[in-house]
């Protein structure tokens, strides 16, 4: 086989040496009225790791993503960013380290904004305005990272394809040079071939920039392809978690077994 295998890459990942997890959920629950959307959830994301969260719709994945984005606070339990409880960070400070890219880029993409303007909208959380040079550098850097030619800076959303729009939304998040990207179903509007290239982009961001990623998806095939660790969510609880390959190979929990059985087979 040519080139290193994924597991070797992860094992020798220069970004995952530090002992403190980047993000940690410790016994986190979130209650809405009489509904417990997220129940006693504990997991960690190390620097330079892709963690995938799988589960059916309604299982609590998006609530968990919103907690990880500090858009919601836990009802009980604690979320820590680099060892510090999230409550200690202001929301703006938190968003300098943790950024998000969501499901349907067209929904969050103002149709009158050019790519240039859209990229700048993430910068509001910075304490100081960037100099013009720094701004241009960051825009070029973010677009290069997602494989969009800088010539597209003046395009508007309708002039981009679905795959390009999704990449621009990721570039917008990267403008802040975050350490963690939360991606909630980022490929659900994309064709299979575009899906693969977006997942390859996530792999490259991990391997080349040491970015940590929390990928939320209902598609076990995608989770399996990109993630180092897999979290399986069912009715608000994490029923299984571990190294991706081990979770899929051992499939201990009945829900994991059912998820695997429901994945349509190609052959």
């Amino acid at each position: 086989m040519t080139g290193p295998q994924i597991d070797e890459v992860t094992a020798s990942n220069p970004f995952s040496d530090s002992g403190t997890p980047l993000l940690e959920f410790a016994g986190v629950s979130r209650v809405f009225g009489s509904v417990t959307a997220v129940k006693d959830v504990s997991f960690q994301i190390a620097p330079g790791q892709i963690v995938a969260l799988v589960g059916e719709s309604g299982s609590g994945k998006t609530t968990l993503a919103r907690l990880a984005m500090r858009l919601l606070l836990p009802t009980s339990g604690e979320i820590r960013l680099e060892g510090e409880p999230v409550g200690k960070h202001s929301q703006r400070a938190y968003w300098r380290t943790v950024q998000a890219a969501f499901q349907d880029p067209s929904a969050s993409f103002n149709q009158f904004y050019t790519v240039r303007r859209l990229l700048r909208t993430s910068l509001g959380v910075l304490d100081q305005k960037l100099s013009r040079d720094e701004l241009e550098t960051r825009m070029a850097e973010a677009l290069t990272q997602v494989g969009i030619p800088p010539a597209m800076l003046d395009k508007r959303p309708h002039e981009l394809s679905g795959g390009q729009r999704q990449r621009v939304m990721i570039a917008r998040a990267l403008m802040l040079r975050p350490r963690l990207l939360v991606a909630d179903e980022p490929t659900s509007m994309l064709d299979a071939s575009l899906r693969v290239s977006l997942l390859n982009l996530l792999r490259d961001l991990r391997d080349q920039q040491g970015l940590s990623i929390l990928l939320i998806t209902h598609d076990l095939g995608q989770a399996y392809y990109v993630s180092d660790r897999l979290l399986v969510m069912y009715r608000g609880e994490l029923v299984e978690q571990g190294e991706t390959e081990a979770v899929v190979a051992e499939r201990r929990h009945p829900y994991t077994q059912q998820l695997l059985a429901d994945v349509p087979k190609l052959h």
């Binding site: 086989m1 394809s161 071939s193 899906r195 390859n200 995608q222 429901d262 087979k265």
Partner: protein
């Protein structure tokens, strides 16, 4: 027995300021009794346009530019939309957005009433509700869904309920355009099982199922047509197409699928470089040539169809393999292969 649908050399395009966008180009295929015919391909390749043509939902700016369509053996008048009496009885459509398009203040029983009333002037709300509940029960869905509002049903259940209501009049043909793309895998499987059940109970007689998801095709379709840039690239039995794709485009699509099996994880899967062409200005010859790893100069000429109407591919390399040697463009065109 005649085919439920038979398109011959069907072509259509969108009339735009920039000229005609040829979204369907010379498509020949049929839907047989008892089968699910899948149509797959990347977005922008004309799948929804073909679905609209087959459903005779033809409104400007879409215009038919050539070919014919027969429904149940009768030649259709493509200058007119499907006549009202045949909507819901000869043919029904299950669109992708069905579940979100429903008016949030309409209950399932009101939808059922609307469907039935269009054909049975005397139908009462009460009997519409009863018939819908009975049909839901027969198909293993909760009959009490009739009294619910769309938001009270999960996305997957909503889509299944809409499928049942839109087939209340036992249409012979159901056209489903990406009905499952927004659903999670378990709901997708449930929808597919429901469509199969409708077919085996002969409530409907044939389904055209559009999706860009090939593994889902495997579980739903008997035959699959692959579309690229408005044209058919390949058509055949689902198993044969997915196990031994002949056309390089089909092969590339199959190669982009991520299944949770170790070989997938250990490799970098590249997908298909580039994107489908702008159909206002498609490449000459084989439309896949700018992205095809096997393209050569010959591919600048329209490729021949290799195979019969049951199973075919349009590709120069496939033609050469079939003849065991290089084939010249004119020779194949001349021999009518």
């Amino acid at each position: 027995m005649s085919d439920l649908l038979r398109a011959e050399n069907l072509s259509a395009g969108y009339v735009t300021a920039a000229g005609l966008v040829q979204a369907v180009d010379d498509v020949t295929l049929s839907l047989r009794e008892g089968e699910v015919l899948g149509i797959a391909g990347e977005s922008g390749c004309g799948k929804s346009t073909l679905a609209a043509l087959l459903a005779r939902n033809i409104q400007l700016p879409l215009r038919v530019t050539g070919g014919t369509l027969s429904m149940d053996g009768e030649l259709a008048d493509l200058s007119r939309a499907l006549p009202r009496p045949q909507r819901g009885t000869l043919l029904s459509v299950l669109p992708q957005g069905a579940m979100n398009a429903i008016n949030p203040t309409t209950r399932v029983r009101d939808l059922a009433y609307d469907v039935l009333r269009a054909h049975e002037s005397g139908v009462t709300r009460k009997s519409a509700r009863e018939r819908a509940a009975e049909r839901l029960g027969e198909l293993g869905l909760p009959p009490r869904a009739v009294d619910q509002y769309p938001h009270e049903l999960s996305g997957g259940m909503r889509q299944r309920v809409v499928a049942v209501i839109s087939t209340l009049l036992n249409p012979r043909i159901l056209i489903a355009d990406e009905p499952s793309s927004a659903l999670d895998v378990s709901s997708q499987q449930a929808l597919v099982a429901l469509l199969r059940d409708l077919l085996s109970r002969e409530i409907i007689r044939g389904v055209v199922f559009i999706t860009h998801d090939l593994p889902l095709m495997r579980s739903v379709a008997d035959r699959v047509a692959i579309m690229y840039a408005g044209r058919l690239a390949e058509l055949g039995q689902t198993d044969q197409m997915l196990n031994e794709p002949r056309h390089p485009y089909t092969r590339a699509l199959v190669g982009s699928v991520l299944v949770p099996e170790p070989y997938v994880r250990r490799h970098r899967i590249e997908g298909i470089p580039g994107s489908p062409p702008d159909l206002a200005n498609p490449p000459v010859g084989c439309r896949f040539h700018p992205r095809c790893p096997l393209a050569d100069d010959k591919c600048l000429t329209d490729p021949p169809r290799v195979g019969d109407l049951e199973s075919f591919a349009y590709c120069w390399r496939v033609a050469e393999a079939a003849q065991g040697q290089p084939v010249a463009p004119t020779a194949v065109a001349g021999s009518g292969a």
